[in-house]
Amino acid sequence: MEILLIDKVFLIVIVFAVSLVIALYSTLAERKVSAFLQDRLGPNRAGIFGLLQPVADGVKFFFKEDIIPNHADKALYILGPSISMITALMTSAVIPWGSYIEFDGRQIALQVADINIGILYVFAVVSIGVYGIMIGGWGSNNKFSLLGALRASSQMISYEIAMGLSIIAVVMMTGSMSLGEIVRQQHGFNWNIFYQPIGFLIFCICAFAECNRTPFDLPECEAELVGGYHTEYSSMKLGLYLFSEYINIFISSAIMSAMFFGGYNFPFMDLISSPNLLAALGLIAFFAKILFFIFFFMWVRWTIPRFRYDQLMTLGWKYLIPLALANIVVTGTVMLISSSFK
């Protein structure tokens, strides 16, 4: 398969734009979902159904006065939200958005980079994401920010372990760490969720914790910490922090659907012969799954109260990690037994 630079550039720009637009409209969706769950109407003044609300919010963020506190460490204060945003956008490089399309006699893979350690790349970027919060929280030179940053980073480190362990079972089954290969092996309706329900449960819980979403949103717990790590932030710097959270939700939804729900695969896909139609339908299927998971994130946020901090740590270290280890052992045993019967 010939790879042209222009294809990749094109793909990168599209993925970038799509992530931003989806994150933009997630903010509206969040408010609409919360309104629905609380029997309210939600924003409905700007545009029809409030469709222009995110635009209005964005404009407002840009035009607010940008304040850098006197006592803050200026360089780190600016670096914090930048790292958060960059790492949030970087992960999308290894996600396979579709199989391939045929254009001008060439096959163009709908994945920016199919590296053979794709899933580890995701983990590396996620583990760097902690720095955005830590640096911002420390650089603000405010005790609430610092406490929020400490909570965020210890939470993210703790849940990264369980998350990695839950992935190992999938990698063992697939025999590859490339996300493209993992998705290819779930062809049709052969999705990993049927083999790894516990792995998915652990991964999903950890994804909530990594995104700092309720019930794990202790880093920005309003009742205790004012605004958490972004207490001192204003204007678009605050906007970047809040925005990167929504991009992270989008990306983790994409990874959950790719790892466990077949990505762009859908049942009876073998009936379609045209590769371009297949790619289009696959893309629709993938985005339907992603949007469902984004909704799921919001659904949980407005339904479940947050944990206490010690409960959060207990859940991570005493339940999820042993469960994930047991899952690996069971998967290995079943694989060994089934391979000896073949």
Binding site: D73, L76, I115, N116, I117, L120, Y121, F123, A124, V126, S127, I128, V130, Y131, M134, I135, W138, L146, A149, L150, S153, S154, I157, E160, M177
Partner: protein, 169 residues
């Protein structure tokens, strides 16, 4: 192309490594160390073709260990005033020890420095996960297992130290 890439990456890594030492603020030191790990990972991935090593380097060092360092620095709130005044004799001792270490390093590496070839031979697919796993679990099984036992003992030791009172347990 490779040369320019190698030079610029090396310059950044050396600069950030130096800045680790010269930064007044420990927070900055740690961030520069993270940058150093990144450039090293870049070297592994680009010039040695060892993607797995590069990514694990980032996950383990930049993503986990350095975050713990940051934790400690954040909580200790180190600064110039609280830094203990080291006596002159220990400074001199440190200079002598460091100089001797440099001498040993230099004499050990002096034959290696002027052999730039291996840097550019992208060592095939040795760094891929599959090959690495096969080598580790085949040729080097015993060292691998022994080092994992070593890690286990380190973990047990950390837990032992972390417990305040063993009897209450």
């Amino acid at each position: 192309m490779n040369n320019i890439l190698f030079l610029s990456l090396s310059l950044v890594s050396i600069f950030s490594a130096i800045m680790v030492i010269f930064s007044k603020n420990p927070m900055y030191s740690i961030l520069f160390l993270v940058l150093t790990f990144f450039t090293l990972a870049g070297h592994f991935a680009i010039f040695l073709g060892a993607e797995f090593l590069a990514i694990v380097n980032i996950i383990v060092y930049a993503g986990a260990i350095m975050v713990l360092f940051l934790f400690v620095v954040m909580l200790l709130n180190l600064n110039k005033e609280s830094e203990p005044n080291t006596p002159m004799i220990s400074k001199i001792a440190a200079i002598i020890a460091g100089g001797m270490f440099l001498l040993v390093l230099f004499s050990a590496l002096t034959n290696q420095i002027y052999a730039p070839e291996p840097l550019y031979t992208k060592a095939g697919e040795i760094g891929l996960v599959k090959n690495l796993g096969k080598i580790l679990f085949d040729e080097y099984l015993i060292p691998f297992e022994i080092s994992s036992v070593l890690f286990l003992s380190a973990m047990v030791g950390a837990v032992m130290l972390g417990k305040k009172d063993l009897k209450q347990g």
